[in-house]
Amino acid sequence: MPADRLDRLFEALIARGYLCVGPTLREGAIVYDEISSSADLPQGWTDEQGPGHYRLRQRADGAWFGYVVGPHSWKKYLFEPERRLWQLKRAGQRFERTDEPPTPKRYAFIGVRACEIAALRIQDRVFAGGSFVEPGYARTREQSLVIAVNCTQAAATCFCVAMNTGPEVREGYDLALTEILEPSHCFVIGAGSERGRELLSALPTAPCTAELQQAAKTAVAQASRQTRTMETAGLKELLQKNLESPQWQDIATRCLSCANCTMACPTCFCSSVEDTSDLTGDHAERWQRWDSCFNPDFSYIHGGEVRQTTASRYRQWMTHKLSTWFDQFGSSGCVGCGRCITWCPVGIDLTEEVRKMTQPEGGRP
């Protein structure tokens, strides 16, 4: 599909009743928000990322998707940062529910990267894969479309190759786009589901030439060149052996216990469940809000917190992500998107801390 026909995708999605959400420029970053046409996309922009560092830069080529991942992740649409679960009133021998359970939205997620699909699939296992199903999550997820985009460049903070989640989109998508700039600016599009195929039939596409397919491959290959990596072989066990390593204390001298990494992480799923009542005491509400293992009271039980120190909280975060997640959900909890590295206000780098933990003497493998 020629790049200048991108709006046809939006039109087709809107015609099918989807609410389009995708990348757009705001507050000096590329964030995910409601968008309605290609004009809302950050065309011609890219991001420069490093530990604790993010800047927008203009690019010369007018690429639509020429950047990587920003501060937001898709989880905010499926596992909302703040959500009222219910409102109740006491009435005789029963509870009267005074709110309507929220109607799930039909989102079209536009511009989803391979690592983000991996993250979505991880959260699927958390919220809908076990014995209990989070109804809100499951219904919205079910109804939403994933319009994926293959990365054609990596940020300095990306390590999806090491985590085996990208850069190429391989599964879990409805449509997957690869943006090609040369010789002519166009998208190579593949459908990954029935809904995707139907949608694709509504787009002004031409059959893809072998040459274009090759160009797409080359483009994605570019994103495979990543400077950051993480040695995952044996990591799960290694961390378990190091639960009492002095290294945790070292990290704690730098870590702020501010919870930014967990909030930015596309797979972190912790929440608080908070009960309130109105002044009369007759109406009560329950709210669910993003919480984090870095927050005070997270591990509180009568008498005190289990994890009182930053060292123990960081250990929970890292060992959960990279080790105990396997026991719980059969995969790593990390998809290599690099958000926790970029959005840490003091640039703590997960990959670097893993390296120090596994090779305390220093030196890269």
Partner: protein, 256 residues
């Protein structure tokens, strides 16, 4: 059942925190319906004697007279809740604690002899047992309502002690430090304001005081080495409305 008796006390302060109650335009009459405003001079000239079920205390202790008055407040009150940075940390006026008060008096008043004040501005909890401290300069009026509400129904106020960052991230605000290079106290500051400043594109300057486990030195180090803040900038950032709170006091002092 008799309505619980509420008292509102003022010590050295700007009135902003107790004004927060009058600023609850939508809820004020409901609150007045639920509690008996037995002593609230800013709002009522009907000032009735104690004892009180709940006392809200605004302001810091800066005079010997106030140091005695607060003891009486404690004796008269079943529950004491302090509201605002003045009452919980000494307030902006605690900047005197780092200086020579006599010189301050000479600088401001023509006849220093008329002025009687203590050398320090100290939080209420330095003088009496406080049952709950609500932070902020000023406090968040919804948190104040929550505290009153929780008190009325015997539950724990939903006032979480996490960082401002948590509120930023929940709102989807883009981090001003990472994306703009602005020094920001958010990571070491107690939440409650709803991460206001970052959503207005400026760094947090710590109205709500230190959060639990504030790693002030790591944040200061980053501001110094990566964001180009000067020692004086850092010292001033920590020495604001919560300058006298232990972690901010020490961090500020270690930068000059």
């Amino acid at each position: 059942m008799a309505k619980p008796r509420l008292a509102v006390w003022k010590f050295a302060s700007c009135d902003g925190c107790q004004l927060s109650l009058l600023d609850c335009e939508d809820e004020l009459l409901a609150v007045a319906g639920a509690v008996d405003l037995a002593y609230f001079p800013e709002a009522s000239s009907d000032m009735r004697p104690g004892p009180y079920d709940l006392s809200l205390v605004e302001g810091s202790i800066t005079t010997t007279h106030d140091a005695e008055r607060i003891l009486e407040v404690r004796r008269q009150s079943r529950v004491v809740i302090t509201i605002g940075a003045c009452a919980t940390a000494g307030g902006i006026q605690a900047l005197r604690n780092f200086a020579d008060v006599e010189e301050f008096t000479r600088a401001v008043y023509a006849t220093p002899a008329y002025i009687k004040t203590l050398k320090t501005s100290t939080p209420i909890a330095d003088h009496i047992h406080v049952d709950f401290e609500l932070r902020g300069c000023p406090i968040n009026k919804y948190q104040l309502l929550e505290v009153i509400n929780a008190f009325l129904h015997g539950r724990k106020p939903l006032v979480r002690a996490h960082s401002v960052c948590v509120e930023c991230k929940r709102k989807g605000t883009v981090c001003v430090t990472v994306a703009r290079g602005e020094p920001c106290l958010g990571p070491v500051t107690h939440g409650g304001c709803g991460a206001l400043c970052p959503s207005y594109h400026r760094g947090c300057f710590g109205c709500y005081g230190p959060k639990e486990l504030p790693n002030t030195s790591s944040l200061a180090h980053w501001a110094r080495t990566e964001l180009g803040a000067s020692e004086a900038d850092i010292a001033r950032l920590y020495h604001n409305f919560n300058a006298w709170s232990e972690p901010f006091r020490q961090e500020g002092q270690s930068h000059g």
